[in-house]
Amino acid sequence: MTSSSTPSRKALSKIACNRLQKELAEWQVGPPAGFKYKVSDNLQRWVIEVGGAEGTLYAGETYQLQVDFPEHYPMEAPQVIFLNPAPMHPHIYSNGHICLDILYDSWSPAMTVSSVCISILSMLSSSPAKQRPADNDRYVRNCRNGRSPKETRWWFHDDKV
């Protein structure tokens, strides 16, 4: 459903390619704890398995992150969503969209897939309750035609979770 949410995607620039190859090589040497890269030949779309951290609400559960890279990565943020089923979390919508500032306005080109993954896991781990965001239904309805979360104007209101 959400996997086709990148209309008219442009191929990676040479700079983006170099950088992603380097990131992948570093990932293979030392992946962030709790994550597993699902091997594919598509450098522009990574699928990553996330294991819920021990001692948190998500312990023992596994989810899949899909990371799509834009033409001008890392100047532009990647698009990161959870594949169905998305974890129940106050900042994760049922269509997989994640409300996390570093994926949008606060992106910086010094961040990497690895650092983004760690941020997402940390967000999951600090969740106080397994529940959807309050505006989940309305938001998901508005995204019906496979809109990218990067086109949403996010309002980052909660700095605790």
């Binding site: 620039s13 700079i15 170099n18 950088r19 380097k22 990131e23 570093e26 033409e71 001008h72 890392p74 100047m75 500032d101 306005d105 606060s106 910086s108 080109p109 010094a110 990497t112 505006d135 309305r138 938001y139 508005n142 949403t152 104007r153 996010w154 309002w155 980052f156």
Partner: protein, 374 residues
């Protein structure tokens, strides 16, 4: 007792000497036994943009100093990873042991400066491309790097310029989006976006988000003059056709300025072998005329140049300088021409014509007439 007082006095004098040498870079916590912190930088002739490391060196001595070497430690450092900092401190400690019984405070600081100068390069990878800033074994393949002046974070010069260019471009774009965005109920403008738009012509360090402006990257701009134009050309291809003309003409202008000044210099030094021109015979004298090119662009320039020349030429030799100056300026500040490749070549005609013309006054009338015809 007297000997002790004398020794103490000597140590106090030594501390004074450090203060005299390091001035504001030295903070004295205690005169005796000496405890001071000195801000040590690499020796780069005060060019702070070329300093990639620095150290606040703490020196704490006991009352037995200088018999007992002082404790040496790093209060704070920039640009040094653990290994290099450990090496630096242990080298200074070794030096201190070596110099026991001698006054050594200034020497230790100088030693620190020496070692810093030898390791005056950033460590690790460029945060943008993730490739090493300085490759240890192969210096030839290393790309130029720079630091942001305010936070000391280092990047490949190309990488940070690309980020800067992206921000400027993005900034312009986000304004466009703001005006066209639908008034969907769930779409709310976030605070950071507002802040971002206010920061026109500003960037933020990708590592620490410290805001920087054009001044912080000025030192790379100069370094990268040639590269920038290439980079800009790359960016324009990526960014769309709109900016292309503007950027291109800017880069082109710079190039022309460079070539123009080089040409003038060579001409001043008589370093040019100019082709012989056709001669036209006037009654009673020889006048060499410049070959008037049939192409319109060359013709235009000669004409307009001549207009300047004829109004200023009052036969005095100094005028020649004026004329050539005027000619050059006109070439550079003129609107971008389609046929830019002609620009540098045009100059020889103009200047050459000017000089010959000065020498042979009577030819003026005839020459102007001929020009008017073309």
């Amino acid at each position: 007792m007297a000997a002790e007082a004398e020794a103490e006095e000597e140590v106090r004098l030594e501390v004074e000497a450090v203060v005299a040498v390091y001035g504001e870079d030295c903070r004295v916590y205690c005169d005796f036994p000496p405890h001071l912190v000195v801000h040590v930088r690499p020796n780069t002739a005060d060019d702070s943009s070329q300093q990639f490391v620095e150290l606040f060196l703490g020196i704490k001595a006991s009352s037995q100093y200088p018999k007992e070497p002082p404790h040496v430690y790093a209060v704070e450092s920039k640009g040094l990873d653990e290994n290099r900092q450990a090496y630096l401190i242990s080298s200074i400690q070794d030096k201190a042991k070596e110099l026991s019984y001698y006054p050594m405070l200034v020497t230790l600081c100088e030693e620190a400066g020496e070692i810093l100068s030898n390791m005056n390069h950033p460590a690790g990878d460029c945060p943008l491309c993730l490739y090493p800033l300085v490759s240890e074994n192969n210096h030839d393949s290393a790309l130029p790097f720079m630091k942001l002046m305010s936070c000391y974070h280092c990047f490949h010069s190309d990488c940070i310029m690309r980020w800067w260019g992206w921000l400027q471009h993005d900034d312009a774009n986000s304004k466009k989006i703001d005006t066209t965005i639908s008034t969907g109920e769930e779409l709310r403008l976030s605070n950071s976006d507002k802040l971002y738009n206010a920061n026109h012509h500003k960037g933020f360090c990708p590592v620490c988000r410290k805001v920087f402006d054009e001044k912080d990257i000025e030192h790379v701009r100069d370094l990268l003059d040639a590269n920038t134009s290439q980079l800009m050309a790359c960016l324009t291809v990526d960014l769309g056709e709109d900016d292309k003309e503007l950027l291109h003409s800017e880069a082109e202008k710079k190039r022309r300025e460079k070539i123009g000044s080089l040409f003038n210099l060579q001409q001043e030094r008589n370093g040019l072998i100019e082709p012989k021109k056709d001669l036209a015979i006037q009654p009673g004298m020889y006048v060499s005329l410049p070959a008037i090119e049939p192409t319109t662009s060359a013709g235009d320039s000669t004409n307009s140049w001549e207009a300047t020349a004829s109004s200023t030429s009052v036969t005095d030799p100094p005028v020649t300088a004026n004329i050539s100056g005027g000619g050059k300026k006109q070439n550079n500040s003129g609107p971008p021409r389609r046929n830019r490749a002609y620009a540098p070549r045009k100059q020889p005609h103009g200047q050459r014509a000017g000089k010959q013309w000065q020498r042979s006054q009577p030819a003026r009338q005839q020459w102007q007439k001929k020009d008017a015809e073309t």
